[in-house]
């Protein structure tokens, strides 16, 4: 029942403004695929194009190889979960879930069985005769999910389904959604601007900016090996440093502005001697060892670790970054530092990432933009 989705050279325009210039991505059958990006990046637009609520100005969208551009939304057999849930307020929970089945002229018995099953899967059987206004946000979300899944859609589309829930419920619903998706195995396209949510829930993530896909890959590879500076800073925190490539020794290395040198065996062959590069170091990729000097400007105690905001000497870091941070894992810390202390930090060569000066490409071997 579930299908693969092929999105080929798709264009979206509103009047003269192009929202999506030329986008291609292949979504596999049965996978949980997330569109992630800041607001205005075109992720919801793309989702609504798949759903059929937005027109397609160029290119094709295919379900299992069949072009669906001109298929009306109501004939695409999609299940959609909305940010506002969009539960029909004049119908009970059960009637909401039955709605799609009734349109499919399902027989009484099979409809009852299907509805009973799905209500159990999303754990709302006890509320089935209530009106939606008497349900909490999390319960309404479960109804929306049940209603979308019960029709056995070809694809399940979810538009920021958790953004109206409070933090705790969001985490609970996140695992509930993943669990249900695993059970029914429907190809799912999920839209969110919350990178933590995307990392936790997805099989694969597409990071988008200004209607262009920046990188597609599994959550780990996107976090550990971002394809460009945007991805590296959008997902998690990254400190950006100026450096130059040095090919003098037996292994290639990078040299920071203060002369500190880090050997990088995994630097790709394209990186040339003397080339200016941007080095991205995550706060947890530093360790207290002889390396680069920095001054502690403020610190925040966060239980499992302490977060220090640092100040490096002029010319070391890229200007305009929100903050330069170092996370000290308290399980292994030998001593804590105070504001005003000067510390020496060593970046972990196996973890840090190196990008071209224009910030667009990774200079690490085997980093893929589309995986």
């Amino acid at each position: 029942m579930s299908v693969s989705i092929g999105i080929n050279n798709v264009i979206k325009k509103y009047g003269d403004t192009t929202v999506i210039p030329d986008l291609s991505v292949q979504i596999k059958n049965g996978e949980f695929f997330t569109l992630l990006g800041p607001s205005g990046c075109g992720k919801t637009t793309l989702l609504r194009m798949i759903a059929g609520f937005n027109s397609i100005e160029g290119g094709t969208i295919q379900f299992d190889g069949t072009v669906i551009n001109d298929v009306d939304a109501h004939k695409r057999n999609i299940g959609m979960v909305f940010q506002s849930y969009a539960i029909f307020p004049h119908m009970t929970v059960r009637e909401n879930v039955e709605y799609g089945l009734k349109l499919r002229k399902e027989s009484k018995e099979s409809m009852k069985k299907k509805v009973d099953d799905i209500l159990r899967v999303v754990r709302i059987s006890e509320y089935q005769d209530r009106l939606p206004q008497n349900l909490s946000g999390g319960q309404q979300q479960r109804v929306a999910l049940a209603r979308a899944i019960v029709i056995h859609p070809s694809v399940l589309l979810m538009d920021e389904p958790l953004s109206n829930l409070d933090a705790k419920l969001r985490i609970e619903m996140r695992s509930a959604i993943r669990e249900v998706q695993d059970q029914v195995g429907i190809t799912t396209v999920y839209v969110t601007h919350d990178q933590e949510e995307a990392l936790a829930i997805s099989d694969r993530i597409a990071v988008m900016k200004l209607g262009i896909i920046q990188q597609v890959g599994a959550p780990e590879s996107i976090y550990t090996r971002p394809a460009n500076v945007f991805v590296s800073t959008f997902i998690g925190h990254s400190n950006l440093f100026h450096a130059k490539v040095s090919r003098g020794g037996s292994t290639p290395a990078i040299v920071f502005a203060d002369g500190y040198r880090v050997e990088m065996p995994n630097l790709c062959d394209g990186a040339q001697e003397g080339q200016d590069v941007v080095v991205s170091v995550r706060p947890e990729e530093f360790s207290i060892q002889p390396g680069m000097k920095a001054k502690v400007r403020s610190k925040t105690f966060l239980g499992k670790y302490t977060n220090y905001v640092l100040e490096f000497a002029g010319g070391m870091v890229l200007p305009g970054q929100p903050s330069i941070e170092f996370s000290q894992d308290l399980g292994h810390a030998e001593r804590l530092y105070n504001v005003g202390d000067t510390i020496e930090l060593k970046p972990n060569a196996a973890k840090i990432n190196v990008f071209t000066e224009d910030q667009e490409q990774s200079l690490i071997k085997d980093v893929k933009k589309y995986a």
């Binding site: 050279n9 264009i11 109501h74 909305f82 940010q83 506002s84 349109l103 979308a148």
Partner: protein, 555 residues
């Protein structure tokens, strides 16, 4: 891979485009075209049918004519000011003070608002006219009471009939004032009159002006009241009517010119008011509305006296009408004893008027509801040039007085191929055009509150857009549609201004029949008819309150 060449966007013909086209055609034929014809005929000489400015010159050349415009304005401005002076404090006291019998008072206010002004005028004649019971009572005591005819009488009738508009608007605004605002003022050391003047008054001022506009338009356009008790005080609607109907050869072109002048004037006022209100308005929402408090001592007595007096006077005409309908009469003279004779006479002679009112009214309201829902939907959900035009055109009836609309339709449809004059169809058309805006506005208002994802959810589950409209959107719209439709229905069955121009013996309605009976001084049958009309109005309101579970209607 397929090339990413831009495909030209295919134009698909769908249900909503058909609806848009049909509605566009309906408005073009039944509103825009007739209005256009009206303006044209205003520029034509009635005998030669040549182009001329003569009609306008005639109007502004003679004091008798332009005096009517001045009269209309003077009366309307006085009425508006007086209704604001009465309606605003009434609303303030009703929301902030504990009032005994509040529930009944609220219903009485709505009933006095809903019944047509000319019935009020007519029962004030019964009370204070030359032969009125009050007049006679005081005359026997040797006291001379002021005349109900002319300016003063109309001011009284209009004020008592129209203050509920201000009351309802201001009550609505008062409900949105959070008690915290008032408490904040008190905590800053501001209390009593000063608090009302600096906090409450500025907050409700835009609302008062919006209500004032409604009063202004209603008073300016009213035809029945000046016809019945205006006597020497000539106003525009009566002037237009008499010039048009004139038995010594109707001056249709001159009447059309005057109608055009009036539409122009009201349009300017309407647009100016919208402009100023939009500039000054702000949105409020309250978590804790103001709670009524118990007032003590002389203040409490005065407040109650004020409220009971105003509401009592406003409902007095209705009570008079109901009472006199059960009296024995001989034309204008009320005799001793009670009977149902007046009702019997209606069944014998005027059954058609009763039947027509309900029949035409029901057909009109069915069309209004369907059109209202469709237009609201295309204007809010399918925005384009055409739906924007429709949205604007539907506002026209707000500024067209009933009698003017009557003339407009009659001039446009009194020859082939659209020979509709004298038919029930033209009556129904005038009802629909005139009273559609109420249903349309409240349908559109509720649509703005329904998230489009509700419809998308239905579509994603496999319902076609049309099916979605009927299964989901229409159901969700119902409360808003109903609250507008009740107002449309009540104003349709009470419509006089356009009906009195369009009716024939076959298509006479109750309000026209009442008007005729009053003119003929058949007070018994007039009262009985008015009672049936008032009863219908009250019952409709009660059913509506029961259905929606609220005591509010959207104006």
């Amino acid at each position: 891979m397929p090339s990413s060449a831009l495909k030209t966007h295919k134009f698909k013909w769908d249900f909503w485009k058909t609806v848009t086209l049909v509605i566009l055609l309906l408005f073009a034929v039944f509103l825009v075209y007739p209005l256009f014809m009206l303006f044209l005929s205003g520029f034509k000489d009635s005998e030669t049918q040549l182009w001329t400015m003569g009609n306008f010159a005639k109007f502004f050349g003679k004091r008798y004519y332009y005096g009517a415009l001045k009269n209309s304005f003077l009366l309307t401005i006085c009425v508006t000011a007086l209704t604001i002076l009465i309606g605003t404090p009434l609303a303030y006291f009703m929301t902030t003070c504990k009032i005994k019998g509040k529930g009944i008072i609220e219903i009485l206010i709505i009933v006095s608002m809903m019944s047509p002004a000319f019935i009020g005028a007519y029962s004030w004649v019964l009370l204070c006219g030359r032969n009125g019971s009050v007049t006679k009572f005081f005359a026997n005591l040797g006291i001379h009471t002021p005349s109900i005819y002319g300016f003063g009488g109309m001011l009284l009738v209009f004020t008592l009939k129209l203050y509920p508009f201000i009351y309802m608007y201001v009550c609505g605004a008062m409900k949105k004032i959070d008690v915290a605002l008032s408490e904040a003022a008190e905590s800053l050391g501001c209390n009593g009159i000063k608090k009302v003047a600096t906090i409450i008054v500025p907050l409700i001022t835009p609302t008062v002006f919006a209500g004032g506009l409604l009063v202004f338009m209603n008073a300016l356009a009213d035809f029945g009241t000046p016809m019945l008790i205006g006597e020497g005080y000539l106003t525009m609607p009566t002037l237009i009517y008499t010039e048009f109907i004139n038995e010594t050869g109707g001056e249709a072109n001159f009447a059309a010119a005057m109608a055009a002048i009036m539409v122009l004037v009201t349009a300017v006022i309407f647009i100016a008011q919208k402009y100023f209100v939009n500039k000054k308005s702000f949105t409020m929402s309250s978590l804790r509305p103001i709670q009524p408090k118990q007032v003590h001592g002389i203040k409490n007595v005065l407040i109650h006296a004020f409220i009971y007096l105003v509401v009592g006077l406003a409902i007095l005409p209705q009570l008079t009408v109901v009472y006199t309908s059960f009296l024995n009469t001989n034309r204008a003279v009320f005799l001793e004893g009670y009977s149902l004779n007046s009702y019997r006479m209606i069944i014998d002679n005027l059954g058609r008027a009763v039947k027509n009112t309900y029949l035409f009214g029901l057909i009109a309201i069915a069309i209004i509801v369907i059109l209202g829902m469709f237009i609201a939907y295309i204007a809010t959900r399918k925005r384009n040039v055409f739906t924007a035009i429709i949205d604007t055109v539907t506002m026209f009836p707000y500024i067209i007085p009933g009698s003017v609309l009557g003339i407009t339709l009659l001039l446009a449809f009194n020859h082939k191929p659209l020979l509709l004059s004298g038919t029930a169809i033209i009556m129904i058309i005038s009802f629909v055009v005139r009273r559609l805006p109420y249903t349309l506005r409240s349908s559109a208002a509720i649509l703005y509150q329904i998230s489009p994802s509700m419809e998308e959810a239905s579509i994603s589950l496999g319902a076609s857009p049309v099916k979605t409209f009927f299964k989901i959107t229409a159901s969700l719209m119902m409360p808003g549609v109903l609250s507008g439709a009740i107002l449309s229905w009540i104003t349709v069955i009470n419509e006089l201004g356009s009906s009195v121009i369009l009716f024939t013996g076959k298509t006479v309605t109750m309000s026209v029949a009442i008007y005729q009976e009053v003119i003929r001084a058949s007070y018994g049958t007039a009262a009985a008819l008015a009672t049936i009309l008032t009863a219908t109005t009250v019952i409709s309101l009660l059913i509506f309150f029961k259905l929606t579970g609220s005591k509010e209607i959207s104006l």
